[in-house]
Symmetry: C2
Subunit: 343 residues, 2 copies
């Protein structure tokens, strides 16, 4: 049992190949050969070197190695809104898995939906010479990435398209999803359907609103601006919003929520009420089937989103020079009963 902390030899300089070489009485190059399993080292010499390595706790400096060899850093950068959000952590997990298959690690960071911070993070990752970037765009201007991409750092955008750059992008079918949601509710007789979306400057929020309008049109439901509440939303605000939507002579009888956080806010705000309005939420979430009543959702495969993005990225790294691709992943209406409440 070894006790460790800052105590002991105070912050020793890390041993280098030089140190190992000196201790083993050989040249630096020989140490390098041993460390890299290169042939042409006498067994006895190699053993001396290994002993020295062990004694000094030497571990070769990968940064220096990569610098010298011009090899890749072995890291892909991932910039998104919030690493702590389960939606993004599932995305991260999928990216990590593909990266692992390609021998890379993932450097993930949260932009907090702030375009300046996103830019700062992405550019710093480039300065670290990450092999590539996967970005969930916060802003609408990504010209800053053009020099980086030209310089050989490919970027793939996920969940939202880049602002002013045509590049590889992976999206979900936002419009199709909300169209399906409205049609589903209309099929059960709902004529007063409200939409609670995220901030309208977020691409997905705007698209889903578009889909909502189109769904109304297709289903023959009157689109009423008073029944639309775009974010950002918080717990106190959502309560007031719901009261407004659900009162009056023509209250909403059904709700469509624009993402998983809003869905949860709504569920919590409506908890304990006698009868909840019908509800269809964009994004599936764990336990959607176990709340009472279960929540019908527009589900999509978040892992596939990350996987596809990572695969596009590695294709670029492997030299794929095709024109930029835009992949749109399908969504799927998962009915769980709550939508079937007739109006």
């Amino acid at each position: 049992m070894t006790t460790l902390s800052g105590t002991g030899p105070r912050r020793v300089r890390r041993a280098t190949m030089s140190d190992v070489a000196r201790l083993a009485g050989v040249s630096i190059k020989t140490v390098s050969r041993v460390v890299n399993d290169e042939p042409g080292v006498h067994q006895a010499t190699a053993e001396r070197v290994l002993a020295a390595i062990d004694q000094l706790g030497f571990r070769r400096n990968l940064s220096a190695r990569n610098l010298r060899r011009g090899s890749s850093a072995g890291i892909v950068g991932l910039v998104m809104e919030d690493v702590a959000n389960p939606f993004y952590s599932e995305l991260t997990g999928a990216v990590e898995e593909v990266a692992r298959q390609h021998g890379r690690h993932v450097l993930a960071a949260s932009s907090g939906e702030d375009p300046d911070r996103e830019r700062e993070l992405a550019l710093e990752f480039c300065a670290r010479r990450v092999d590539g970037l996967i970005v969930v765009p916060a802003g609408v201007q990504h010209g800053y990435l053009v020099p980086e991409m030209r310089a050989g750092t490919p970027a793939v955008f996920v969940d939202r398209p880049a602002g002013d750059v045509v590049a590889d992008t992976v999206l979900v079918d936002n419009i199709g999803g909300t169209v399906a949601a409205v049609q589903h509710l209309a099929r059960y007789g709902h004529r007063r359907i409200a939409f609670l979306g995220d901030a309208p400057d977020i691409f997905t929020a705007a698209e889903r609103l578009r889909g909502f309008r189109e769904g109304c049109a297709r289903a023959g439901v009157r689109y009423d601006e008073d029944l639309v509440a775009m974010g950002p939303h918080d717990a106190p605000g959502i309560g007031a919003t719901l009261r407004r939507l659900l009162r009056g002579p023509e209250p909403a009888t059904a709700l469509v929520t624009g993402n998983n956080r809003i869905t949860v806010l709504v569920l919590r705000a409506l908890a304990g009420q006698r009868d909840r309005p019908a509800l269809v939420g964009f994004d599936d979430f764990e336990l959607a089937d176990l709340v009472n009543p279960p929540v019908t959702v527009i589900a999509h495969d978040v892992a596939a989103l990350g996987r596809t993005a990572a695969e596009l990225l590695f294709a670029r790294l492997d030299g794929d020079g095709a024109p930029p691709r835009r992949v749109v992943l399908p969504v799927r209406l998962v009915t769980r009963g709550s939508g079937e409440v007739p109006a």
Copy 2:
């Protein structure tokens, strides 16, 4: 609108200071001065340099910079079971936030509960010269980190202690939590309480089982081995396990689950049944208050876990040489009604 992909100038070599210097007609050092905002460069010269930088899309190589300056990489490594698990992503978010305050990024990786992979990841991070490591241990042997820690890469263990190394560790009060859970259930008359825990070689699972036994002793409830089912669990298995526990002449009337995933498995397995046994789950989870009936949990502050670990780490990086600390964070029984079902 710029179109980008692998097309265009095929994978150009990234511009270096040399290239910039040549284009601007100055020396490398002058470029360095401009890039680093060092004084002593004529304004006209600086502008020529900036123009060249812009034209070439130059961005200085941070690896080379850090190598030369001996400065830190600006990265802390985080090794845990699964980045996609919401529990760990909340942890990651907290670590990231503290890291950000200290000007660092987080390199996160999943060990998949495999000690070999954990070791491999941790050592590779050390080779990358991360500033420090935060590890959720998968195995029980961490002697491999001793040379690294001695060499100046501090490590902090989270959620579980290291196997054979005494180092900074942040835990939650596993025993106190399950003791409280059993006492809570006993108070409502339960005498047949079952425990569903994770694989017993996982530290937290073992501790929580210990707490369960101790809780039984303190509450005067007979501890019955037949009512204990340790994992790993999966969806099909948990159904069979529950049938076994809940049948017979002396069925369990209450359950204690050992972590959030098991809790959810149980909820799903029991969904739709007329009356669910009383349930207390270790770990809080989103929507625990919205399932029916709501789930009483042993809650702890996952973010605090990550924050504390990161703060310990940065204290070490700032030269804190005190003996290793072990911090145990409190847990809190959050009653939500389900435990109050009398036996």
